[in-house]
Amino acid sequence: MKLERSDRGPLWAFLGPAIILMLVFFVIPVIYVAVVSLMKWNGISAPEFRNIRNYMLLFKDKAFIRSVTNNVIWALVAGFIQVPLAMVMAIILSRKPKGWKFFRTVYFFPQVISGIALAMLWRAVYNAETGLLNGILKSVGMGHLACDWLGGIKTAFPAVLIYWVFYVGYYMVIMMADITTIDESYYEAATIDGATDFQQAIHITIPLIRRTSLLTCVTLASVMGLRQFEQVYMLTNGGPANTTSTIVLYMYKKLQDSNYGVASASAVILILVGVVFIVAIRKLFEGRSETVKVKKVRAGK
């Protein structure tokens, strides 16, 4: 919509509070972090200007490189495995099978449960001696595969990643909210034409949510993947040998060391990586202008 002169005042009044909050709580603190990232500072003594030395240190640190790699993998898995899974579930549930309300509520539970509990459970599942996973493997005669999942240098990261991929409730709820706004008449027409549920999903639902909630979810999931901290912190604390570390965990540890400079530098890098992701995802889902067109078609029906 074109901005009318009479709208200009109210527009800024509406946008104002959000922008002020963003400035005070994001822009200024982030600039502060960026400034600190150029310094050597332990929080007690006077800060010393270091130029980009903190960044050089980071790129020389294997643990940091590993953290960045892990986060990128995490973001990709989240965006391109977790979200599609969530989409499948959203489509299934939006066809309102028996008990769909119940299931939709249940799927959201992990979001409600404190992260501590989730991490403690999965530690118990992966435990080498008493763990459920090894127990199952042994009982089906695959005991040779049993191992210390979270302690193995090769197995720890996949173990941390895999269990988490299946918690899809968060994104499912977002997509379901969108799917339910699709006009029923589409599906009615398709059903008359003899299209199966599967065909309807492919030809109606997915194209219609693709540039709205699907894009939202892929972006969100990737960003959440990049920000991953709590689960790793409580499951493995980045171990073994930093193989499950993430950028935020790395940063947190540097904060514990009172190494504010390096911690801030890693935060800056996280933001940069994230911006690259957001832009790339938007490019992948093509320009936004088409969104309007699709929706117009939908509304026109």
């Binding site: 959000a18 959201f108 199966t196 996280l270």
Partner: protein
């Protein structure tokens, strides 16, 4: 002839799809219920059973005492109330500010619109742990340290990027024609916002509100940092009452977690009803 050959195969496929569908539904349901059940069982054990026994065994005698412990010793009641106060206030403010912002970004073209939106999206990325020092200073400078206000303001602010992002996503899918028609009928800026956009983006708003509330409910770092008075502590601080420097009273902690989950699950279920009601009455009517 071809008709008869196609139909059974279609039915076969439908059957497979139905089986697959129910397999997925039940798999995901078990997968998500599993932690809750495990948590509940663990919360009824003794610490000795929890530490030394199998993590998946049932308790010999259910220890309801753990719940009494959690409620009385840790004083969870007051903390639940604080969490509700802080969470609800922050959510209300957050949603008001974010939906107004999202409206502007979604419905109007103006200079810097995309830049502002990118800024908001990038906000989701910011690792808040890195901002402990600046946030502490800001809240102190505003004189809001150790008050509900400080927590509410901070939670409201840190949820802005996410809420704006979610609400904008939904507002984008409201057809422009609707608003244009209203505009031609003489409906002003506020009228269009309150009478057309807000009702139609209800699902997005409820989704965003749910997430914002849960963020507040589950936030611990700043709840601990910004408040020192026991009277203002929130539930996440309460859950950690049973940890100390050297050991953790796991079972009481799990009981506390169970207690902290119950209100949010009930709240969520009630909220879900609202979403459903909103969806049926406010479905896009083209």
């Amino acid at each position: 002839m071809s008709q008869t050959r196609v139909r059974p195969s279609l039915q076969g496929r439908e059957l497979i799809l139905a089986v697959l569908r129910w397999f997925l539904i039940i798999f995901f349901a078990l997968y998500t219920l599993f932690p809750l059940i495990w948590l509940f069982i663990s919360s009824l054990k003794t610490n000795f059973e929890f530490l030394a026994g199998s993590p998946f065994a049932l308790p010999a005698v259910p220890q309801w005492q753990n719940y009494i412990n959690a409620l009385t010793v840790a004083g969870l009641g007051r903390m639940l109330l604080n969490s509700v106060i802080v969470g609800l206030s922050a959510t209300v403010f957050n949603i008001i500010v974010a939906s107004m912002g999202a409206y502007c970004i979604s419905r109007f073209r103006f200079n810097g619109r995309e830049k502002i939106f990118t800024l908001f999206t990038a906000g989701i990325l910011v690792p808040l742990n890195a901002l402990m020092v600046p946030y502490f200073v800001i809240i102190t400078k505003l004189g809001l340290i150790n008050t509900y206000g400080g927590m509410i303001l901070l939670y409201c602010a840190i949820g802005i990027p996410m809420s704006t992002f979610l609400i904008r996503g939904l507002m984008d899918s409201i057809p422009m024609e609707l608003e244009e028609a209203a505009y031609i009928d003489g409906c002003g800026f506020f009228g269009r916002f309150f009478h057309i956009i807000l009702p139609l983006s209800r699902t997005g708003i409820v989704t965003a509100a749910t997430f914002e509330f849960l963020t507040c409910w589950n936030e611990f770092v700043f709840a601990n940092l910004l408040v020192s008075s026991e009277k203002l502590r929130t539930i996440q601080v309460g859950i950690r009452y049973f940890t100390n420097q050297f050991s953790t009273d796991y079972v009481s902690m799990y009981a506390a977690i169970m207690i902290s989950i119950i209100p949010s699950i009930i709240g969520y279920i009630l909220f879900q009803e609202q979403i459903i009601a909103g969806m049926t009455s406010g479905a896009v009517k083209g």
